[in-house]
């Protein structure tokens, strides 16, 4: 503890924290509130209480198909991204990697460069060399977008692992596959789990790459919500958006369990 915080500073801090909480959470709160409205239109404050919009989207083939596409896409992307990202993070953690800095930069750069660039680039390549965008192209785009998260979380966990563990396994005669199975992967497990949750969440929520690569039959939930927002949204959009918030909350709880939310944040 460092001295005492003056009363003025404490008061300003509390005021800022409260203002931030309202400002940051208000948009999510109004979405949730709107989703249980009984009225036909999006009005605020919502009139009455009903779950009819949830019933409606759960009976709607459009919403269900979009949800199915989103879940499939996120699952496929998560598996590929975690496999590639974990291997890369383990590789980068080894001593004597040539061009280590450049490789690190390459793996993290999709996070830094405008995503819109990736979206059009993939669209242009797919139109030229494939039959235009498809589920596979969209998955490729999402793998690129999610890979940095996996590499970062796994690297962060591996950085705390004693490198002599692996050497010890070697000295004790473990073949390469046992070394990975019994030593390397268990050590990296919290990072792998956190990376997987991140990848799933990012892919499930992603809208920018998806907007450029939308193809018939590959309409994800965020895309469906986006097109409804462009015209006249009704409370069914709020219900779908609330489901997406619920998914995010679930992922956050999972992240807190495997790694601790404060570690994930920093």
């Amino acid at each position: 503890m460092i001295g005492r915080v003056p009363a003025l500073a404490a008061a300003l801090g509390v005021a800022l924290a409260a203002a931030a909480a309202i400002f940051m959470l208000a948009p999510l709160a109004v979405v949730i509130a709107s989703s249980v409205s009984a009225s036909e239109f999006l009005v605020f404050p919502p009139r009455g209480f009903s779950l009819r919009w949830y019933q409606e989207i759960l009976a709607s083939s459009v919403y269900l198909r979009a949800l199915g596409v989103s879940l499939t896409l996120a699952a496929v992307v998560t598996v590929i991204s975690v496999a590639l990202g974990a291997a890369a993070a383990i590789g980068l953690s080894r001593p004597g990697v040539r061009f280590a800095g450049a490789l690190q930069g390459l793996f993290l750069s999709p996070l830094m460069l405008p995503t819109i660039l990736l979206g059009i680039g993939l669209l242009m390549l797919a139109s030229r060399y494939a039959n235009g965008p498809s589920f596979a192209v969209m998955a490729l785009g999402h793998v690129v977008v999610t890979l940095p998260y996996v590499v970062r979380t796994v690297s962060a966990v591996l950085a705390r692992v004693d490198p002599s563990l692996e050497e010890a396994a070697r000295v004790m005669g473990a073949p390469w596959w046992r070394r990975y199975w019994h030593v390397v992967l268990p050590q990296a497990r919290p990072g792998l789990a956190a990376g997987a949750f991140f990848a799933f969440n990012v892919s499930f929520d992603e809208a920018v790459v998806a907007l450029f690569l939308r193809a018939p039959g590959v309409e994800t939930l965020p895309l469906l919500i986006y097109s409804k927002l462009e015209f006249s949204p009704d409370p069914s959009v709020a219900a779908a958006a609330t489901l997406m918030i619920a998914m995010t909350v679930a992922v956050m709880i999972a992240l807190d369990r495997v790694l601790g939310l404060d570690k994930v944040a920093a």
Partner: protein, 345 residues
Amino acid sequence: MAQLRIDGLTKRFGAVTALDAVDLDIPDGAFVAMLGPSGCGKTTLLRCLAGLERPTSGTIRLGEADITTLPPERRGLGMMFQSYALFPHMRIRENLRFPLKMRGRGDAAAQDAKIDEALRAIRMEGMGDRYPREISGGQQQRVALARAIIADPPLLLLDEPLSNLDAQLRKQMQIELIELHRRIGLTTILVTHDQEEALSLADLVVLMNAGRIEQIGAPRDIYRKPATAFAAAFLGGANLLDVVVENGLARAGDGTALGPLAAPDGPRRLVLRQEALALRDAPRPGEATLAARIVAVAFNGATSRVVVEAAGQRLELTVPAAAIEGRAAGATAQLCFILADAPLV
């Protein structure tokens, strides 16, 4: 100037009592070492003095003023941290200027003069424009010390100041600290877990254990006459031999008569310093003796450390290496010491 007076100082962290009603008077100009194992409360005491912790109860007086609840910036003290806490974003000069500026000492020119003087004193003229990361660990230590005293504080607090230096540099800095204290006579409180450092630097050692003061005294007194078993064991790793006093005669645990001892009847413990023990074939006149079996011998160069078993206890002694030649583990010998020189606890 400033006499420091601590009364009933208590600090609790939740259920843990770090300081338990500590009373301590420190005379002006003293060099005091707070000594004890980690977690004994010595660092908490120092932080309470600095104002970095607020005591749960008790008072701290500096001269006439009660400073118990004064924020750290208004106490005007000098403090040196274990990690040095040099500001990485400031050059050495600006680090040294910081306390002068914060306390509003003189104009920029006067401050510059003071900084130059300080740099000269630590033999770092011309290095003022470097950043802390651009100088060696020893130099960082000297800058940190210079920064702690540049604003002429009435009291200097040193938190394990030498623990980040290698053994050789540490010895050299100990001498420098002694010289500095002699030269400016600043009341200094040093926190350390290193008993050798405490004994060689301070003129008053405060031995702490479990939030309480175990013993206060001059280094020689505290070493020769430990008041408690803890004091005996912590300072110099003395052996504690269980004895029973009966009608003025001391007997070891196995019944061996050791000699007359002026103490009330009952079980007692003898403090036997490692260097006060000798292994011989037969005792010299006036020596008490115990039959001992050698368990292990570790050669240390000039001396050897020997572990023996005597009177059912394991004892450790340090002897000149030559004195143990010819004796190996398993051999028997007489463990000899002068009973009158061994304090009782």
